[in-house]
């Protein structure tokens, strides 16, 4: 598990737009991360994390998965390839998280064609699913 400053080794985003605070690990096809919603989160409004924060959290989970996978396949010292979000589809948000709640997101790579990876994501608070979506990650060569 990686937390705090260690997250910076996995994703290129920095404050104030780091939307994962814990990375629980990755397999060849899956990754799992967490975020506790703090009052000073840049995407918080009226005590809630807005849609943008939820989606960015999911996107950064995909990025962290991708970062870990690349390190495993290409060596720890390899230069991380930049991954962009090409597309977001079928993104459903059931409700907005409140300050103090912890989001846990699992992503799974379901298909890959050349440098495009299709990922399915599910975000939960406790046992409650609050969001799900499909993200296409586009990786620079």
């Amino acid at each position: 598990m990686q937390q705090g400053e260690e997250i910076k080794q996995l994703i290129p985003q920095r404050e104030p737009i780091m939307m994962i605070d814990t990375f629980y690990g990755a397999t060849e096809t899956t990754g799992k991360s967490g975020l506790t919603v703090l009052a000073d989160n840049v995407f918080c409004e009226d005590g809630q994390l807005r849609e943008m924060g939820v989606i960015e959290h999911i996107a950064q989970t995909c990025a962290a998965y991708n970062g870990v996978k690349n390190k495993k396949n290409n060596g720890v010292e390899s230069k991380p390839k930049l991954g962009y979000i090409g597309e977001i589809k079928k993104c459903q948000i059931a409700r907005l998280p409140r300050i103090g709640e912890q989001l846990v997101t699992e992503v799974e790579a379901t298909a890959q064609v050349m440098n495009v990876t299709l990922m399915e994501a599910t975000t939960k608070i406790g046992s409650e699913t609050i969001a799900s979506c499909q993200i296409k990650l586009f990786e620079e060569d």
Binding site: R14, E45, Y84, L96
Partner: protein, 124 residues
């Protein structure tokens, strides 16, 4: 959150079945320091957020995007080169639900396209 801080609306044009909002990014916003250091790019979610703000202006309601059907990013928005942008909105207000079809463009360049359904929030 984003309005008058991350970006400002500088003008609006009504067209046939659509409205176009002219906007300007604030390159000094702290988000650009973290996304990414030394390489400012507007986060995709902020592009979605700017569309939402314009849709809120247009409908006069606070919106919650519970169903983002599709959002395609074709070009990176950099606040240096692409400070001024146009947001093209096609809205269908069905009462509780607002159907949004939108794109962010400048001239011939399309930066992103979005289709979503938003519900109106009660103002606190």
């Amino acid at each position: 959150m984003l309005k008058d801080d991350f970006f400002t609306i500088t003008g609006k044009e009504n067209g046939e079945g659509q409205v176009v909002y002219h906007i300007e990014l604030n390159p000094n916003h702290p988000i650009f320091r973290g996304h990414f250091p030394g390489n400012p790019i507007s986060p995709g979610v902020c592009n979605i957020g700017m569309i939402k703000v314009c849709a809120e202006e247009e409908t006069g309601s606070n919106l919650f995007i519970g169903n983002l059907k599709q959002c395609k990013f074709s070009h990176l928005v950099t606040p240096g080169e692409n400070k001024e942008l146009d947001i093209v909105l096609k809205l269908e207000d069905t009462g509780d639900i607002v159907k949004i079809a939108a794109s962010i463009i400048k001239g011939d360049t399309k930066f992103m396209e979005l289709k979503a359904e938003a519900s109106k929030e009660q103002k606190a």
